[in-house]
């Protein structure tokens, strides 16, 4: 093997610095998930609206966002939005807006398929028994749709944890960015980035496994 003197102590020495970054990563992911869930609901409702212009807006947002790279979107929000609107946006805010919009476009599809997975007959049964359309959606469709959407939403959280590393490009101080800064001073990219990769893995992997287990249990019901 190649001769390399591992210096893990350079990483341990900055453990708190990196864990601070990890905390940032998780906070960003959590906030973004909540925003994306709300945004996704708005896009899904636009998509399913009875009014053509609203539907058109919803579909356009979804298609544009799903068919452009997330990194380009982040750069666009960070650099272009301030030019268009003449306001400076903090990197952290730009990252959260960009990521939330991107995930919302995917989550809207999750909602839509969740709602459409509820058989029409369930709504008809509600209608015949005299429930209003609102009661029928609220009591019959939504609880079933939510059950269908929870595992995909959890998977979105895992994706967000990974995508939030893109914040490094616009200088958001999450764990990847801190890794870049650390390796620029300790000249130990191998230890630094390996450690960071391991951290990501041991957060995302158990989550993904738990979701898969959860999904299987829901299907069994």
């Amino acid at each position: 093997m190649f001769k390399y003197q591992f210096r893990w102590d350079t990483v341990w020495g900055s453990f708190d610095f990196l864990m601070g970054g990890l905390q940032m990563t998780l906070i960003i992911s959590a906030i973004t998930l909540v925003l994306a869930m709300v945004g996704g609901l708005i896009i899904a409702l636009l998509d399913m609206s009875r009014f053509r212009p609203l539907r058109w807006i919803g579909i356009s947002i979804g298609e544009v966002v799903r068919n452009t790279p997330i990194l380009v979107q982040l750069l666009w929000v960070y650099y272009v939005l301030p030019i268009v609107f003449g306001v400076r946006i903090e990197a952290l805010v730009a990252l959260i807006i960009g990521l939330a919009l991107y995930q919302a476009a995917f989550i809207s599809e999750v909602y839509r398929s969740g709602i459409q997975s509820v058989p029409k007959g369930h709504r008809e049964a509600a209608q015949v028994l005299g429930l209003t359309p609102f009661q029928s959606f609220n009591r019959i469709v939504l609880p079933q749709a939510i059950r269908m959407t929870l595992p995909p939403l959890a998977s979105n959280f895992v994706q967000l944890i990974k995508f939030s590393s893109l914040g490094a490009v616009i200088s958001v101080s999450e764990i990847t960015r801190r890794g870049m800064e650390l390796s620029a001073t300790n000249f130990r990219p191998l230890e630094t980035f390996t450690f960071i990769a391991v951290v990501y893995f041991f957060i995302c992997w158990p989550l993904a496994m738990a979701i898969r287990f959860w999904e299987r249990r829901l299907q069994a019901r």
């Binding site: 007959g121 015949v128 429930l131």
Partner: protein, 254 residues
């Protein structure tokens, strides 16, 4: 007026889906305590007629009238819509595929509409639900979820759910078609019991035995029209048209 007019009446109802004419000026009245059985080949418009009466489809022509009051017309006005809301839950329906709500227990399925629509207090709704479950012989399943029940049990729960709103008329849309023969019997037994108790019923069915022995009137439909209607077993003993004879022929060896 309501004593002389039929409980529910399809008055010259036509239904088109696009260019497809499914019903052509069908007139059918159901009187109190009637058990009207609608038979006919598949695609004859039986189910569409039932769905029009259940207010799930709007007629393209004609009207649905309940106790003398129009409740469904093509592009209904405010008055008709208000009348429909008024009687909505007095028309019960049992579906071919049960349509129980899978995220609710049997008991919850039964008390949902009485509590939300009739604003019935919970303990009263539960008491009614429990007595109905006893009636369909499923009291011990009150806390089970629909997925744990057999098809026959699910359909009996669905009947109990419809009864929980104490409807004036109960519509059955091929309620036994999705069931194995041995499960059909338990559902038919419940339907027969309801008929005996004087429930007004409109039954779309392929069960000729039920139509013959339980029905007070049999209506034969073909290609979107009522071809024949006769009281009790008369339709089976002496069908008047060639189409009806040919239809009944299929069941001759049953």
């Amino acid at each position: 007026m309501s004593s002389t007019s039929p409980l529910i009446l399809a008055d010259g109802v036509s239904k088109k889906f696009g260019i497809n004419q499914v019903l052509t000026r069908v007139t059918l009245e159901v009187l109190e305590r009637d058990v009207v059985c609608v038979v006919g080949p598949s695609g004859s418009g039986k189910t569409t007629l039932l769905r029009c009466l259940a207010l799930l489809e709007e007629p393209s022509e004609g009207q649905v009238v309940m106790e003398g009051v129009p409740i469904s017309t093509p592009s209904p006005d405010k008055q008709v819509k208000a009348a429909a809301r008024e009687v909505r839950s007095e028309i019960g329906m049992v579906f071919q595929h049960f349509n129980l709500w899978p995220h609710m227990s049997v008991l919850q399925n039964l008390i949902e509409a009485p509590m939300r629509v009739k604003k019935m207090p919970r303990d009263k709704a539960v008491a009614i639900a429990e007595s109905l479950l006893k009636k369909v012989d499923l009291f011990e399943k009150r806390d089970a979820y629909p997925a744990r029940l057999s098809g026959g049990q699910q359909q009996r729960v669905a009947i109990a759910r419809a009864l929980a709103m104490s409807p004036k008329v109960l519509l059955f849309d091929e309620a036994t078609s999705a069931l194995d023969p041995e499960l059909r019997r338990e559902v038919l037994a419940v339907m027969r019991q309801l008929a005996r108790e004087g429930m007004t019923m409109l039954v779309v069915t392929h069960e000729m035995g039920f139509a013959r022995h339980v029905g007070t009137r049999t209506v034969f439909m073909d290609r979107g029209e009522i071809v024949e209607a006769a009281p009790g077993s008369a339709f089976f003993d002496a069908p008047q048209t060639e189409r009806a004879r040919r239809f009944l022929q299929q069941f001759a060896d049953e």
